[in-house]
């Protein structure tokens, strides 16, 4: 096994317990939902529908991304692993876990649909219940979530206190700026942003693959930024 895969193996170890706990909870909720539907709802109105596991996986991966830098970087530095190798190993790990979770999510949707009226996010947004499109869409979104988390934590690690404060307030300032610009342009900015999002997320033609492509392009951009951040990152106490 080459060193990059060995580093990946170490990074997977970090995810193992968190994944087990996460899917333990998801499984318990799924069983509860199925029991609730079979025993109560189906006998009364039969109009309820379920969904949202994909969103939990998205949050899980974002938080995991936030947690997978500092301790791992320190341990790998203790073992004299270069930043470059850590970077590639982390990409392998995040992509693999995203693919695994997307596969579980798409498979679970199919199974739950057999028991109760369950709709995953892709079906709710695009009226498309194909396994493959659900998998690809989720995979692309999960990858973006994990990469974004990783990038943010690295940014915080690299910056001093002042820069951390600036970064923390930047999203709020951006929203205020956008609102002001929207007022100045009498709503034109807001409309063009919504139109652009509708196109890049594939809502114009109900195409989840357009959104998946947009997520993957965004992921590539985030990982590019991660590379710029990690290549000269120094060890801190």
């Amino acid at each position: 096994m080459n060193n990059t895969l060995k580093v990946s193996k170490y990074l997977f170890r970090d995810f193992k317990n968190a994944l087990l706990i996460f899917y333990g909870i998801i499984l318990a909720i799924a069983v509860l939902m199925a029991a609730l539907f079979l025993n109560v709802i189906s006998q009364e109105s039969g109009n309820a529908s379920f969904g949202g596991f994909g969103f939990s996986a998205f949050i899980f991966l974002f938080v995991s991304g936030l947690n997978c830098f500092k301790a791992n970087f320190k341990f790998l530095q203790a073992n004299n692993i270069s930043r470059k190798r850590f970077y590639y190993a982390n990409i392998i790990t995040l992509l693999s876990i995203s693919a695994f979770m997307a596969l579980i999510d798409a498979s679970m949707t199919k199974v739950l649909k057999l028991i109760m009226p369950y709709e995953d996010i892709v079906e709710q947004l695009y009226k498309n219940d194909l396994f493959f499109s659900s998998f690809i869409w989720s995979f692309a979104l999960f990858t973006l979530a994990a990469s974004a988390g990783w990038c943010i934590t690295m940014l915080y690690y690299k910056c001093d206190k002042l820069m951390k404060t600036i970064i923390s307030f930047a999203p709020v300032l951006l929203v205020i700026l956008l609102v002001m610009l929207n007022n100045v342009t009498e709503g034109a900015l807001g409309i063009s942003i919504i139109k652009s999002l509708t196109v890049v997320l594939g809502f114009t033609n109900n195409n989840p693959y357009t959104a998946a492509l947009s997520f993957l392009v965004a992921t590539a951009g985030v990982l590019g930024l991660c590379y710029l951040l990690i290549r000269r990152i120094a060890i801190k106490d």
């Binding site: 203790a78 073992n79 270069s82 120094a234």
Partner: protein, 286 residues
């Protein structure tokens, strides 16, 4: 066999110059002592040698390969860092296992034997180890790594006298069985003196001494006896340290041991002895 070459390395932290134009070579299979007062730049130098931080100028090579982001070069070094960089929720034995992944020559059997010798419980999590046992645990990993170059930064931090003595003996035994380059950065100079072959002293970011220990010790000697007679001997001589106990006085004279005036010492009933590295260090870095 690995040669570390440091060429014109400078490192700044903002307006502070941590290292200034350092050039030196670590030859293979020697035990070096890296000495300097607090903030002299020892840890900065070690961090630069192991790609933990980046120099502002200059370069560092191992067997001709630049260290910067170079896994091949970095694989030759094991650096026991003063701070704990290991995940606190992992057990000692798990860290041994993971070290083996990254250092294929890591000798797990030797690591376990050392753990037993130092009474380190390998089933304990890193977070539950005391300061002393954290040092022992890190030192064991370094000794068992079988890397060509092993660097210890404050290896005996928190260790009791017994464990410190065991550690120095283990370093010598490890080196005798499998010669390698060992660099020890420490403040406990008196204890480590007998282990070292060569000494490197850094003062305010500059290299001031790189000499074999014997050569450095030969540049001074101690004279002791009745205080008034010692003072008589010292007339016109350069000396650095005075220890007075009642009428008895002991002084380190900064002169080559071959230049000592044995006839005068005999006449005054004074005794010569070897200079101590720590006293020379204090004099050189003050």
């Amino acid at each position: 066999m690995s040669i570390i070459e440091i060429r014109n390395v400078t490192k700044d932290y903002g307006n502070t110059k941590a290292l200034s134009d350092i050039s030196l070579t670590f030859e293979p299979n020697k035990i070096y002592g890296l000495l300097g007062r607090n903030g002299a730049g020892k840890t900065t130098l070690l961090n630069l040698m192991t790609n933990k931080i980046f120099p502002n100028q200059g370069n560092i090579t191992i067997d001709g390969d630049i260290v910067l982001e170079n896994d091949k070069a970095l694989n030759n070094i094991f650096y026991m860092v003063e701070k704990n960089m290991y995940p606190e929720n992992l057990k000692v034995k798990e860290i041994f296992r993971w070290t083996k992944e990254f250092y294929p020559l890591f000798d797990a059997e030797y690591a376990n034997a050392l753990a037993k010798k130092f009474e380190l419980n390998v089933n304990k999590k890193v977070k539950s180890l005391s300061t002393g046992y954290t040092s022992i645990f890190k030192a064991i990993i370094a000794l068992a790594s079988n890397a060509n170059i092993i660097i210890f930064d404050e290896p005996v931090l928190g260790l009791d006298a017994n464990h410190r003595s065991m550690f120095y003996k283990e370093v010598i035994s490890n080196y005798s069985e499998n010669p390698k380059t060992i660099i020890i950065s420490t403040h406990l100079i008196e204890e480590v003196e007998t282990v070292l072959e060569e000494v490197i002293i850094i003062k305010e970011g500059k290299l001031i001494v790189k000499k074999p220990v014997e050569e450095l010790l030969a540049s001074a000697y101690m004279i002791s006896g009745e205080a008034s007679k010692v003072d008589e001997y010292l007339r016109g001589k350069n000396y650095i340290e005075e220890d007075v106990m009642g009428k008895f006085k002991s002084v380190t004279v900064m002169d080559n041991i071959n230049h000592k005036n044995e006839a005068l010492a005999k006449e005054l009933n004074l005794d010569f002895s070897k200079a101590e590295l720590q006293k020379l260090f204090i004099s050189l870095t003050n």
